[in-house]
């Protein structure tokens, strides 16, 4: 797995394994280092082990094997309250019997801060999330978005170097979620703190993160920056999990360096870039993003192989058009094209030829 240069790694998972019942490993050999000031997202479906990793980092779960380092110190045996990590919970976990001010005061009180310093820090933290006039409200009197801001302020008020967020925007509606994504990202840039963010929403991960660790089945499937993850997935799981994806099953016909020729089920040949393919004759799944599929010959590379496709239907989506195609014996092949002036109108049952740049078609492990 990729890791940033070892020296300035702020959080390190070193061969961490976790089992709850002694029979199944929930986290299998996790190696991950997170740089100082980085915004790292753990992305994955539920049950992939991402939340367990976060809980181990927060100290609520113990690693069955391996070491977790924070700022160079092994924190395996450090109790949660001595780790100095701020955490935002999925349901915010604002203390219902305290006002907003008391909620923010709590981490400062247990640290033995003087009253005047507490007041000052609470005011600063509330201003930071634009909730200055809400200090005397109870959490129940706030809307979901406001509670979210308070939870964020509370996790930041004691100046932690590391902040963990466990699906913090899961309970908000779409518009508010997008707005809060933007605000959290802006806060991160402004304060320079390290953030480990857990989500199952890939859109959220793509817009906010410096790097994303895609979890599945207790392992990190790929750790990369969002554009790399989207454009150059390393395996079929990542290709399918991040964004919309077309998967064509076939067999490697010819392999020349990273250039591969793939024979599809109906005998047609296509060009692809070999990613985790070792030899010809191997089964493969070719992954192509819908927006990289072309159907006008002038937009395809001159020597590209093209494939015959039959249009099933076209959905008008405003900015783009989305065509569902039948390709090489497979249904549900999706092509997206821009809704420009004078765009070609495709109609159902029309037969077209589609093609793509070989770099955009990635021959991955078979599904």
């Amino acid at each position: 797995m990729t890791s940033q240069s070892g020296n300035d790694a702020f959080v390190v998972f070193d061969h961490v394994q976790k089992s709850y019942d002694g029979q199944v490993l929930v986290v299998k050999d996790l190696n991950l280092s997170i740089g100082k000031g980085e915004f790292l997202t753990m992305l994955g479906p539920s049950g992939s082990g991402k939340t367990t990793c976060l809980m181990m980092l927060a100290g609520f779960e113990t690693a069955t094997h391996g070491e977790i380092l924070l700022d160079g110190q092994n924190i395996n045996d450090v109790p949660p309250h001595r780790r100095g990590i701020g955490m935002v919970f999925q349901n915010y976990a604002l203390f219902p019997h305290m006002t907003v001010g008391e909620n923010l005061s709590f981490p400062l009180e247990v640290r033995g801060m003087s009253k005047s310093e507490r007041q000052e820090r609470i005011a600063r933290a509330l201003d930071m999330v634009q909730m200055g006039q809400f200090a005397s409200r109870r959490p129940a009197q706030l809307s979901g978005g406001q509670q979210q801001r308070i939870a964020l302020a509370r996790a930041l008020v004691f100046d932690p170097k590391l902040v963990l967020m466990d699906e913090p925007l899961g309970a908000l509606d779409k518009q508010l979620r997008e707005h809060m994504q933007f605000e959290i990202k802006a806060l991160h840039d402004r304060l320079g703190i390290t953030v480990v963010y857990v989500t199952h929403d890939q859109g959220e991960a793509l817009t906010m993160s410096d790097r994303i660790a895609v979890f599945n089945d207790g392992r990190i499937q790929q750790l990369a920056a969002p554009p790399v993850l989207y454009e150059q997935p390393e395996n079929s799981f990542v290709a399918g999990f991040i964004g919309e994806n077309n998967a064509l099953r076939g067999v490697i016909e010819k392999l020349d360096g990273d250039k591969a020729l793939v024979r599809l089920g109906n005998g047609e040949l296509i060009d692809a870039t070999a990613v985790n393919i070792r030899e010809s004759g191997q089964a493969t799944t070719v992954s192509i993003r819908p927006e990289r599929v072309e159907f006008k010959p002038e937009l395809m590379p001159a020597d590209a192989h093209t494939v015959e496709a039959q249009v099933r239907d076209v959905i008008y989506m405003g900015d783009i058009l989305r065509a569902r195609l039948h390709v090489a014996g497979q249904e549900d092949f999706v092509m997206k094209y821009r809704n420009t002036l004078g765009q070609v109108k495709l109609s159902p049952n029309e037969t077209i030829r589609i093609g793509w740049h070989p770099e955009d078609a990635r021959a991955l492990d078979p599904v």
């Binding site: 109790p79 949660p80 309250h81 780790r83 100095g84 219902p96 019997h97 004691f158």
Partner: protein, 432 residues
């Protein structure tokens, strides 16, 4: 505590039905009238639905309890059976020496009461306020039944010179009206002297206040022990995985489903001097055979048995509240830098208060009125006020006294309930 089986709750429902006038006399729009009419119908239906319960509660609860409480201030045993002397007391102010008319009225009343065979009731009534005087009336009754001639004063004094006792006359004057506060005075260990002033009774007769204090103290102690024992159990119930917590819940409820008598007698088997616990202690050599502990038929027995019996009433409300407390609150507190003790004290415990309040109130109110267990395992030092009420009901047959004690107990509980409301707030109560 206003659940649907509560008589007050039913009464509130009934009174809410009455004021439907303003709705009907609104600005006369057909819509508004139709709305009022349809609502009135719904209300009538609701009222009819609760009517059986309302009647049941009225007939079996409110009326008998009301009558019983009335007895605490009303006893016409003397005034109804001795009309002439009662009339004399009414005409002459307190302090008047009994004159010839008074003696005549007394003698004729005694004769009439003796003939009507109600002299015993009269004697009993006077005996409540002046112990030892019942026989004075019954023996006089036997002698005057065949007729009594003037001079009445001399004739009566001949029978017994106690008839001239000023205190007796003072007590008869008080009994000459059916309504009296004397039973409440007696319930507070007070009485009236000859001149009618309220004084405390002699020291060796003071029993009720001590019993009230003991009842209060033991109830508080039992409430506290159920809290100490029940809190961890409730927490365990709320946090264990479903399968294990269901098993534990059955263990909590099993005693609940067992007869009260069986549980109490089980404690007798365990705690008595030749019982299981003493046997084990002797066998282990902690105490020797001659030092067997007295753990039952005293206060210890009452406390142990009642704590056990009332424990579920503490655990269940606590459990129902704890189950709703999201574990992420404590996690959040820990991540914010609180030790587990601070997180418990400042975050978890305050959130269990509604359940704790409900449990404590339930246990306390049940303990204050508990009867069977103290009667069986309490000996003499573990008796509570309810045992004394029962004694007055069944053995001394002084129902007025029993009613006065019960009314004071009820009043005391209501005052504590009011205090609880002022301090904690009834809204913060969660029964499940």
């Amino acid at each position: 505590m206003a659940h649907s089986l509560d008589p007050q709750g039913a009464a509130v429902t009934a009174s809410e039905i009455a004021p439907e006038g303003p709705l009907r006399t609104a600005d006369g729009q057909p819509l508004a009238r139709a709305l009022a009419r349809s609502q009135a119908r719904a209300r009538r239906q609701a009222f009819l639905l609760v009517l059986p319960l309302l009647l049941f509660v009225l007939i079996t609860f409110v009326v008998p309890i009301g009558q019983m409480l009335q007895r605490s201030v009303k006893n016409d045993g003397f005034s109804a059976n001795m009309p002439q002397i009662s009339a004399w007391f009414a005409e002459n102010p307190p302090g008047t020496e009994p004159d010839a008319a008074a003696w005549q009225a007394l003698a004729l009343d005694l004769q009439a009461a003796a003939e009507a065979r109600s002299i015993g009731v009269v004697g009993t009534r006077i005996n409540y306020d002046m112990p030892g005087t019942r026989s004075l009336f019954t023996s006089a009754g036997r002698q005057v039944r065949r007729g009594i001639e003037p001079p009445y004063r001399e004739k009566l004094l001949e029978m017994d010179e106690d008839w001239a006792d000023p205190q007796l006359w003072s007590v008869m004057r008080q009994a000459s009206t059916p309504y009296t506060a004397n039973f409440y005075l007696a319930a507070m260990d007070m009485t009236r002297d000859e001149a009618g002033n309220i004084v405390r009774v002699e020291e060796q007769q003071r029993v009720y206040l001590m019993l009230f204090m003991r009842t209060l103290w033991l109830s508080l102690l039992i409430t506290f022990t159920t809290f100490v024992l029940g809190f961890p159990v409730a927490h365990l119930l709320a946090t264990l995985p479903m399968r294990k917590s269901n098993l534990l819940m059955i263990l909590v409820l099993l005693p609940f489903w067992t007869s009260l008598l069986v549980r109490t007698t089980a404690w007798m088997v365990l705690l008595q001097q030749q019982g299981v616990i003493n046997d084990v202690f002797v066998w282990l050599g902690i105490i020797n055979d001659s030092q067997r502990l007295q753990m039952i038929y005293n206060q210890t027995g009452t406390i142990i048995a009642m704590t056990h019996i009332l424990l579920p009433f503490m655990i269940l409300p606590l459990y129902s509240v704890m189950r709703t407390i999201n574990p992420s609150y404590v996690r959040a507190a820990r991540s914010l830098g609180a030790t587990s003790w601070t997180a418990f004290r400042r975050i978890y415990f305050p959130q269990t208060l509604p359940g704790l309040g409900a449990g404590a109130l339930l246990v306390f109110i049940l303990a204050v009125g508990y009867y069977i267990t103290p009667a069986l395992v309490g000996g003499s030092s573990g008796q509570l006020i309810s045992n004394l009420i029962a004694m007055h009901m069944t053995r001394t047959l002084n129902w007025s006294m029993a009613a006065a004690l019960a009314a004071m107990l009820l009043g005391g509980v209501l005052i504590l309930y009011w205090l609880y409301d002022r301090l904690v707030g009834i809204d913060n109560l969660k029964l499940g």
